[in-house]
C-alpha cells in the first residue's frame, strides 16, 4: 500500500534520506524509529508529497506520488508532527474544511465527521473553538482530520508528542482500529513502548539510512542475550583496553556503553577495572528494542 523505492533526498552535500526501501502492507503498522535528525520526517514528507525526492519513487495504493499525485494523495492521510488546525474555528468546522480538502461533500461528509468525532472522543466538544481544547484534544482532532476520508494509507508523524495519557490511549486505540480495518499505517515515534505495542514491523533509521528492519521479535533476536551496560563518570584517563573483552558501542569521556552477556553476574568484575570515583552511575538494560536501538545508533531514541 505504501512503497518506497530507492528513496533519497539530498540538500546540497547533505543527505537527509539515503536509499530508503520499504513497503507497508494493508492492515499493517510499520514503525519508523530514529533519533531527531535521522531522516524520519524527510521520509514522511517525501511520501506525503511535501518534498520531491532527489532520487527514487514512492507509491501509495499503487499510484506514484510523483507522476500520479492526485490519485496517490486521495488514498493517503497525514497526521503531521505539528498541529495543522485553525484554532479560531470549532472542531467540527476544522473537520468540515479538511474533509472537503479530501473531496468529501454533503451527507457523506457529515456522516464521516460524526463517526470520527466519536472515534477520537470529541463529540461533546465538536462545536467548541479549538483554542479552548487541551493539548491532547487538539492532537486527537489533528488525527481525526486525517482519517475522515478513510484513507488506505495513513502516515503518523509522532502523533503522541506532548499528549496526556488519556488522549494517548484514545489515539493508540484508534490507530489499532484502523489497522484492523485494513489501513496501512506508517508510524514514527520517540516512544519505544508505543512502537512495541503497535508496530508489526519496525525500521530503524539513522543518518538518513535504514540500519535495521524487521518484526519486533526479529530485532530483539539481533541483540541475542546480551544486555546493555551504560557507565557514567569521568573516563578521560581510562584506557580503552580496559573493556577489550566486551563489545563497546560508545566510548566518551563521560559515558561508556557496551554489551555483555549475563551482565548482572559480571558487574562486580567490570567495576573493579576502574579506579574509585571514576564511575558515578551504572545502568544495566536487558535485551530490548531500546537497547538494540542504542547498539545500532550509539544514541538514545530521544537524543
Amino acid at each position: 500500500m505504501i512503497k518506497t523505492q530507492s528513496l533519497s533526498k539530498t540538500y546540497g552535500q547533505f543527505t537527509a534520506a539515503d536509499d530508503i526501501n520499504f513497503e507497508v502492507n494493508p492492515g499493517e503498522i510499520f514503525g519508523l524509529l530514529g533519533p531527531n535528525g535521522a531522516g524520519k520526517s524527510t521520509t514522511i514528507n517525501c511520501i506525503s508529497g511535501l518534498l520531491k525526492p532527489t532520487l527514487g519513487e514512492v507509491y501509495i495504493n499503487g499510484f506514484s506520488v510523483l507522476s500520479d499525485a492526485i490519485k496517490a494523495k486521495a488514498s493517503l492521510g497525514l497526521v503531521p508532527q505539528d498541529l495543522a488546525l485553525y484554532e479560531d474555528l470549532s472542531g467540527q468546522e476544522n473537520l468540515n474544511f479538511w474533509g472537503q480538502a479530501y473531496g468529501l461533500t454533503g451527507d457523506q461528509l457529515k456522516q464521516r465527521i460524526k463517526i470520527v468525532l466519536e472515534q477520537v472522543g470529541l463529540t461533546s466538544r465538536a462545536k467548541d473553538l479549538v483554542n479552548t481544547y487541551s493539548g491532547g484534544m487538539k492532537r486527537r482532532l489533528n488525527f481525526a482530520c486525517a482519517i475522515l476520508h478513510e484513507p488506505k494509507a495513513l502516515l503518523l508523524d509522532e502523533p503522541t508528542v506532548g499528549v496526556d495519557p488519556q488522549s494517548r490511549e484514545h489515539l493508540l486505540t484508534a490507530v489499532e482500529a484502523l489497522k484492523n480495518q485494513g489501513t496501512a499505517v506508517l508510524y514514527t515515534t520517540h516512544y519505544m513502548e508505543e512502537a512495541e505495542r503497535l508496530c508489526d514491523r519496525i525500521a530503524i533509521i539513522d543518518h538518513g539510512k535504514i540500519i535495521a528492519m524487521g518484526t519486533v521479535a526479529d530485532l530483539r533476536n539481533q541483540m541475542g542475550e546480551k544486555d546493555l551496560i551504560t557507565l557514567q563518570g569521568d573516563f578521560s584517563e581510562v584506557d580503552e583496553a580496559t573493556l577489550e573483552d566486551f563489545e563497546v558501542i560508545e566510548w566518551q569521556d563521560q559515558t561508556i556503553r557496551f554489551m555483555a552477556e549475563n551482565a548482572a553476574a559480571k558487574l562486580s568484575d567490570i567495576l573493579s577495572r576502574f579506579k574509585p570515583g571514576q564511575i558515578k552511575q551504572t545502568a544495566v538494560q536487558q535485551a530490548s528494542l531500546e537497547s538494540l536501538f542504542i547498539k545500532l545508533t550509539g544514541r538514545e531514541l530521544r537524543d
Partner: protein, 416 residues
C-alpha cells in the same frame, strides 16, 4: 470534480474567521473614516463642504477696491467663502480667535493709486492653523493683482479718461461711448497677439453636471482615498494571513491532500473579493448619504474599488510569498502599506501634495487606480478617457501577479 469546490470552501473558512474577529473588520472600516474626518478638521472644515470665512476691511471703499473684494463674492469662490466686512479691531479679534481663514485690509487711496499707476498695498493676514483656504485667498489675490497690472499697462489711456469720472462720480453718455470704443479698439489691436487663432474651440455640452465643482469638498476629495485605505488595510491583513496558514501547518498539510494549493490561493482571492465587496458597499453607501455621490455612479465606483482592492491584494500576496518568515512578511508588508497610503492619496488628497510628490503617488498602483476613479467621480471627466488605461494596467497587473503567486505558494511549504 468535487475538488472544484475547494476555492469556495477556503473562501468560506477565511470569511468565517474574519467575521469572528469583528474588531478587525470594524477597524478596516472605521480607521479610514476617522482619518478622513480628522484630516477634514485639520484642513479647517467640519468634514462636509470646504467652506471658509474671509474678512475684509476696506478703508478705500472705491469702485476698484470693491472690484477686488467682489471677486470673492461671486462665481466658484462664493461657494467657498463667506465674505464679511469688518472694522480693524473686530477683524483682529476674529483672526486671533482663529474664526476666519484670511483677512484682507485695503488702505485708503488704493483706487486712486491704481488709476494713477502708483504703488499701493493690500494687506493679507492668513490663519496659520489652516492651509488650503488661506492659500486659495492668496492665490486669488495674486491673480487679481496680476490682472490689474496688465490693465494698467494696456489701458492707461482709458484709465486716464475714467479717472475724472470716478472722482466726480459723473458719467455722461458721450464720455462712456468714447471710453468703451477706446477699450474695444485696444482689445482688437491686441487680439492678434494675445489670442492667436492657433486653437480651435469646440463647444461640447456636458450631459451630467450634478457633480460640478460646487460639490467638491475636502471630505469628498478624501473619500475615494479613504476607501482605498480600507481596502489596503484589509488586503494587508489578508495577505499576511496566508503566511499564518503556512506557519500553523495548514498549507503544508493541504499539500498532502488531493486539493491543489492553487485552489487554496484562489479561495483566498475569492474571500478577498467578498471582503472588498462588503467594505465598498458599506463605504459606498456612506458616500452616497454623506457626500451625495449620485446613486447611478455607485455601481461603477463599487466595481472599480473592488477591482482595485484585488490588484493591491495581489501585490501584497507577492510580497508576503517572497518573504522567508511570517515575521518578515509582516514587517515588509506593513513597511509597504504606509508609503502606499501616504503617497497614493489615502492620507492626503493628491491635490494637496507638492507636484513632484503627487506625480510619484500617481505612479503607484493604488495612486494610479485612485486617480482614474477620482477624475471620473469627483471631476466628472469622461470615464473612457480617465479609467480605460488604469483598467488595462490594473488587469495586466492582476493577471501577472495572480500567475506568479500561484507558483510562489507552492514554494511556501519549503520555508516552514
Amino acid at each position: 470534480m468535487v475538488f472544484l469546490s475547494m476555492p469556495s470552501t477556503v473562501a468560506s473558512i477565511r470569511l468565517k474567521r474574519i467575521f469572528r474577529e469583528k474588531w478587525g473588520l470594524f477597524s478596516w472600516l472605521a480607521i479610514p473614516l476617522v482619518i478622513m474626518f480628522l484630516m477634514s478638521l485639520i484642513a479647517g472644515v467640519g468634514g462636509g463642504k470646504l467652506t471658509g470665512r474671509l474678512l475684509v476691511t476696506d478703508y478705500d471703499e472705491s469702485t476698484v477696491s470693491q472690484f477686488v473684494t467682489g471677486g470673492f463674492a461671486q462665481g466658484p469662490l462664493a461657494e467657498i467663502f463667506t465674505v464679511k466686512q469688518v472694522e480693524e479691531n473686530e477683524g483682529k479679534d476674529i483672526m486671533d480667535a482663529g474664526d476666519a481663514s484670511a483677512w484682507i485690509i485695503i488702505e485708503k487711496g488704493f483706487g486712486d493709486a491704481f488709476i494713477n499707476n502708483h504703488n499701493t498695498t493690500i494687506k493679507l493676514v492668513k490663519n496659520p492653523a489652516q492651509s488650503i483656504l488661506p492659500q486659495m485667498v492668496e492665490t486669488s489675490m495674486k491673480l487679481l493683482i496680476e490682472a490689474a497690472s496688465y490693465i494698467q499697462v494696456l489701458f492707461s489711456k482709458e484709465l486716464s479718461v475714467l479717472k475724472p469720472m470716478l472722482e466726480q462720480q459723473k458719467f455722461n453718455d458721450a464720455d462712456l461711448v468714447v471710453l468703451t470704443l477706446g477699450i474695444k479698439k485696444q482689445i482688437e489691436r491686441l487680439e492678434e497677439t494675445i489670442f492667436p487663432p492657433q486653437l480651435e474651440l469646440i463647444k461640447q455640452e456636458v450631459e451630467n453636471t450634478e457633480t460640478e465643482q460646487t460639490n467638491i469638498s475636502f471630505g469628498f476629495l478624501m473619500f475615494p482615498g479613504a476607501v482605498f485605505m480600507a481596502l489596503i488595510f484589509s488586503a494587508n491583513s489578508m495577505a499576511v494571513n496566508i503566511w499564518d496558514d503556512a506557519s500553523n501547518g495548514v498549507i503544508p498539510r493541504l499539500s498532502s491532500t488531493p486539493s491543489a494549493l492553487s485552489a487554496y490561493f484562489n479561495g483566498q482571492v475569492l474571500a478577498a473579493f467578498g471582503i472588498f465587496s462588503l467594505i465598498v458597499l458599506v463605504l459606498g453607501l456612506f458616500g452616497v448619504l454623506y457626500f451625495e455621490i449620485p446613486v447611478q455612479k455607485l455601481p461603477v465606483m463599487m466595481l472599480w474599488l473592488v477591482f482595485s482592492g484585488l490588484v493591491i491584494y495581489m501585490l501584497f500576496c507577492l510580497i508576503t510569498l517572497l518573504m522567508p518568515t511570517t515575521k518578515s512578511a509582516n514587517i515588509v508588508v506593513n513597511a509597504t502599506t504606509f508609503p502606499l497610503l501616504m503617497l497614493g492619496g489615502s492620507f492626503f488628497p493628491m491635490e494637496t501634495m507638492p507636484g513632484w510628490l503627487a506625480t510619484i503617488g500617481q505612479f503607484l498602483p493604488n495612486g494610479y487606480l485612485l486617480k482614474g476613479l477620482k477624475d471620473w467621480l469627483v471631476r466628472s471627466e469622461p470615464m473612457a478617457e480617465v479609467m480605460l488605461w488604469p483598467l488595462i494596467m490594473g488587469l495586466v497587473m492582476f493577471v501577472v501577479l495572480w500567475a506568479v503567486n500561484r507558483v510562489l505558494i507552492n514554494r511556501l511549504i519549503h520555508k516552514v
